[in-house]
């Protein structure tokens, strides 16, 4: 054997060892030499990450209503604008929110319009000012696109953070929470092993915006119209109408009612230090959520409740009044949310309050749940089909090409070994379409070998000696193999870049498999041929 050939085999051996180590020689605790079948199996299970379609679990895609978060900024800006205009004695007409990112200011007194422009340019730097079309002395404030993008990104980052905290608090194993990469406002949540995502979904979706507001008139109204009528058709300044449900021991007895609340909250969710569920004292069998306030909030809340004894205070959760109890005495650093909670819903609400509020509401776009039994079936079917087709193909190759067929079988097995090892090293996830990709890799691998062998046969038929025939066969087939493989890899790369979920899983295994295939069907197969040729008699025929 020539030294060049020796080195080739050394390289091939190293590749095989590295691959075997990657698949069987490690588990989540690091390198562990497999001393028994059980360890071997454990290592394999730890190294090959299965997709949700194979192991079972829930896949959720949700959309953050980013414009809501931006709209809130708009409302805040309007509040500030009102205040500043009053302070600076600027005279204007109506100030109106046009949409989430536009504010219209009407009839700015021409004498104070200079002061108005200065105010906006100096203190409202997030906004750009322009004369409003079709308005005399009217101005339009437009949120700057860069600022809007920043707010949007903040809202997304914050949502991911809050959702992560909530899911971790639920104690689910190995969740994935990430951007989908599809739309900028979409988040992907994957919960392996979760067969029924109903609870996780409601916990994720809960707004968690809690605030305490004083009732403006201590009354409860059956409708919005009634509420307005009680005040002569005009809301008291600085107040708002909020819906809620009446208190009743049995949930089905509750009715929709309306409250008029002070706009400014007394405390909000940010003032909270902790929240825990506990059995209700007023309604046996039900649960309350008890919370404690931060020191700073307690310093405000104590005096406030003391001076408002006898008034009613609404507990508003996600823009709905939960309960509106009457303040009985001074409350310092803790409070109770009552209102028909079961043990689980009280637990979930405490969890949501602890994890913090979402910056904007959430809508679900997609939900896919694979039960564990279906996942197990899919794996069995996929592996069985793959093994079945591999064996059929290998038997055929050996019958048709004899010894050279054995060569092809070795190359195919090595091809699969490299593919699996590579997936283990880069942590790629094996999915059902991924298994299909593996099957296709086998197909292409067979094609490469057939191309080479047919070419060698042709050259032999043309009267070339075995060594020359092998050389020309590989040289010629090399170009064809490169062309076919590069073409398929080009398309697979596009699939990966522009495709989603299953299409990507397929593209990954295909690309890795094809690259491995170029190595095995050209380099390895050639080395085996050369080895065989170097030990062959001059007159001997090639077994092909």
């Amino acid at each position: 054997m020539s030294s060049q050939l020796t080195w080739k085999f050394v390289l091939i051996l190293i590749v095989i060892l590295v691959c075997l180590f990657g698949i069987f020689g490690m588990n989540q605790n690091g390198p562990t030499f497999p001393t028994s079948g059980a360890v071997l199996k454990q290592n394999l299970a730890d190294r090959i990450r299965l997709g949700l379609d194979l192991r079972g679990g829930s896949h959720l895609v949700l959309q953050v209503q980013v414009e809501e978060a931006i709209g809130q900024r708009c409302d805040q800006a309007i509040d500030q604008l009102h205040k500043q205009i009053r302070d600076k004695k600027i005279i204007t007409g109506e100030i109106r929110r046009v949409d989430d990112s536009h504010i219209l200011v009407r009839d700015v007194d021409p004498n104070t319009s200079g002061a108005f422009r200065d105010l906006v340019n100096n203190q409202f730097t997030d906004w750009s000012l322009s004369p409003a079309a079709g308005e005399q002395n009217g101005y339009l404030l437009t949120m700057k696109p860069s600022v809007m993008a920043d707010f949007g990104k903040d809202a997304m980052d914050q949502s991911i953070e809050v959702i992560t905290r909530r899911i971790n608090a639920l104690g689910l194993t190995e969740p994935t929470i990430a951007f989908t990469g599809r739309g900028a406002d979409e988040i992907l949540v994957e919960l392996p092993g979760e067969g029924d995502p109903t609870r996780a979904k409601s916990v994720i979706q809960a707004g968690g915006q809690l605030q305490y507001n004083l009732l403006a008139d201590d009354q409860t109204y059956p409708s919005q119209i009634a509420a307005l009528a009680a005040h002569g058709g005009v809301l008291p300044p600085g107040s708002m109408i909020v819906p809620g449900s009446s208190e009743a021991a049995v949930p089905s007895d509750q009715q929709q009612v309306y409250y008029i609340l002070d706009r400014a909250p007394i405390i909000t969710g940010q003032d909270m230090r902790g929240a825990t569920p506990e059995p209700s004292t007023s309604y046996p069998g039900q649960y309350d959520v008890k919370f404690t306030l931060s020191t700073a909030a307690a310093a405000r809340f104590g005096p406030f409740t003391e001076s408002n004894i006898g008034h009613r205070m609404a507990i508003v959760l996600d823009s709905k009044v939960h309960t509106a109890p009457t303040i009985q005495g001074r409350i310092d650093d803790s409070g109770v949310i009552t209102g028909n909670f079961s043990q689980q819903s009280a637990q979930d609400l405490s969890l949501v309050l602890r994890a913090g509020a979402l910056p904007a509401s959430i809508k679900y776009l997609e939900e896919r749940t694979v039960g564990p039994s279906l996942g197990a079936d899919s794996i069995r079917a996929g592996v069985r089909a793959s093994l079945g087709s591999i064996i059929v193909v290998m038997i055929f190759l050996v019958i048709y090409y004899r010894l050279s067929g054995v060569n092809a079988v070795v190359a195919l097995i090595l091809n699969l070994l490299i593919l699996v090892a590579f997936m283990a090293y880069v942590g790629a996830v094996l999915t059902l379409p991924g298994i299909a990709g593996v099957i296709l890799t086998i197909g292409m691998g067979v094609d490469s070998n057939v191309l080479v062998f047919e070419r060698i046969r042709e050259e032999l038929r043309a009267g070339k000696a075995p060594a020359a025939a092998v050389e020309v066969g590989f040289d010629r087939a090399f170009l064809t193999i490169i062309d076919t493989h590069v073409t398929t890899i080009v398309s697979a790369v596009f699939l990966f870049l522009f495709g989603t979920g299953p299409v990507r899983g397929f593209a990954i295994t295909l690309v890795i498999g094809l690259i491995a295939n170029v190595f095995t069907s050209i380099y390895v197969s050639r080395a085996i041929f050369d080895f065989h040729l170097s030990r062959m008699d001059r007159q001997e025929q090639l077994s092909i």
């Binding site: 104690g171 599809r182 067969g195 029924d196 979904k201 679900y364 776009l365 997609e366 939900e367 896919r368 749940t369 039960g371 564990p372 039994s373 279906l374 079936d377 899919s378 079917a381 996929g382 089909a385 079945g388 087709s389 059929v392 193909v393 055929f396 048709y400 090409y401 004899r402 059902l432 379409p433 299909a436 099957i439 296709l440 086998i442 197909g443 067979v446 094609d447 057939v450 191309l451 047919e454 020309v472 040289d475 010629r476 170009l479 064809t480 062309d483 076919t484 590069v486 073409t487 398929t488 398309s491 697979a492 699939l495 870049l497 522009f498 495709g499 989603t500 299409v503 397929f506 295909l510």
Partner: protein, 409 residues
């Protein structure tokens, strides 16, 4: 062993028959698309909607399900009985599909919830007040066992009940396909004592069905996925066109792309004809067949490029014929083996891979045939046209010259 040797067929002379066959195949498939008001049979991935895959403990009366759905105001839902991978004769699996309900803000999973409620009402979810063992998660089961402590471990329980719960749900899901009909079936599970079985049967009921899979896709996502799939395919085709144009001549690239386009159209037609739904996984299959057909075409073109260097005087059509004949052995072998592979996939891969494998089975046949039946004749035709214009496209690009050097060795 050798199957083909010295084949000598005038493929290009038969080009008009190939075109006729293609037109017939296209017409057959697309007539069914036309009957379907020119709409392809999109699955819920692309259409939006709800799909719930339910397994029953015995073959369920479909009429009862249908009636339950209609009574609940879901008359347009589809009910399909499917065969199981491990037991093809079983009729216990049913897939219930719902169209997207409106475009409004209502909860995405309202449809799924309704289906589950209907099934509970029609088939009962076991005894009242007991949770269903067939739908419990390992975590909940572990919590129950820890509370009941049937092994009497007290505070020493540690991880034991967690492991036991894993084993019990594992046995349910892998040995009994997700549905246990009698607690005695769990007797053989490692670590199970009569006490454990007692505690299970006193605390749980055994429901008659289990939800195996739920897919819910919002209408917006459906449209987005459809657009993305079409874009990915077009980009992939564009990428291949550019690569082949660079390696050969642009007309080869165009011919190859037209041929695979033809393959995709025929396969889509057959999908409609055989009532398979187009899902995301099927798109992966279509793209695979694009790659496969392209592979086949390139092998022939590669040979044409080589022969052009060796046979300077012969007519172009003869060179193409010879190239196809020379590669025929390889074409039949590879296609045959790939066909075998996808056939195994079609027969053994189970319900989830069925549509994928169907696309491949059709695609391998059409893709192989289109290489010599469509792609090669286009290049020949173009050559004839250019010949009549005075400058036939004979040689390959710079890359072709390198190959010719190799070929002469």
């Amino acid at each position: 062993m050798e199957l083909f040797r010295n084949v000598n067929v005038d493929w290009m002379g038969k080009a008009k028959y190939f075109v006729a066959v293609s037109l017939i195949l296209l017409a057959v498939g697309w007539a069914s698309v036309a009957r379907n008001h020119w709409s392809l049979n999109y699955g819920i991935d692309f259409r939006g909607g709800t799909l719930v895959y339910v397994r029953f403990s015995s073959a369920p009366p479909l009429d009862k399900i249908r009636k339950g759905l209609a009574d609940a105001g879901l008359p347009n839902s589809s009910i399909q009985q499917i065969s199981d991978i491990s037991d093809p004769s079983s009729k216990n699996d049913v897939v219930i599909g719902l169209e997207q309900q409106g475009q409004g803000d209502e909860a995405l999973d309202a449809g799924k919830q309704k289906i589950v409620d209907i099934l509970h009402n029609s088939f009962g979810g076991g005894e009242a007040g007991k949770s269903d063992f067939n739908s419990i998660t390992p975590a909940d089961l572990a919590a129950y066992l820890t509370q009941k402590d049937p092994l009497g471990l007290g505070t020493n329980a540690g991880d034991r009940y967690n492991q036991l719960a894993q084993k019990l749900t594992g046995a349910r899901d892998t040995s009994y396909g997700g549905i246990v009909s009698n607690f005695d079936q769990l007797k053989s599970v490692d670590g199970v004592t009569p006490g454990v079985l007692n505690s299970l049967s006193s605390g749980f009921s055994l429901g008659d069905f289990t939800i195996r899979n739920v897919d819910i896709v919002g209408p917006k996502v459906g449209a987005q996925l459809r657009r993305q799939a079409i874009l990915a395919t077009l980009y992939a085709l564009g990428g291949m066109l550019v690569y082949i144009a660079f390696r050969f001549e642009w007309v080869y690239g165009a011919a190859a792309v037209i041929a695979v386009f033809h393959d995709v159209l025929i396969t889509l037609g057959f999908f409609s004809l055989f009532h398979y739904e187009i899902s995301l996984t099927v798109i992966a299959a279509l793209l695979t067949l694009v790659g496969y057909s392209m592979n086949d075409t390139i092998v022939i073109f590669d040979r044409v490029r080589e022969n052009l260097r060796l046979m300077k005087r012969e007519p172009f059509a003869d060179i193409v014929n010879k190239s196809i004949n020379q590669t025929l052995s390889r074409t039949i072998l590879t296609s045959g083996l790939t066909f075998l592979t996808v056939l195994v996939l079609y027969l053994m891969g189970g319900e989830v891979l069925r549509a994928f494998a169907f696309a491949m089975v059709v695609g391998v046949v059409v893709g192989t045939y289109s290489s010599f039946g469509i792609a090669a004749p286009i290049v020949v035709l173009w050559n004839k046209y250019r010949g009549s214009q005075g400058s036939p496209v004979r040689s390959g690009s710079a890359a072709g010259k390198r190959e010719a050097a190799v070929a002469r060795r």
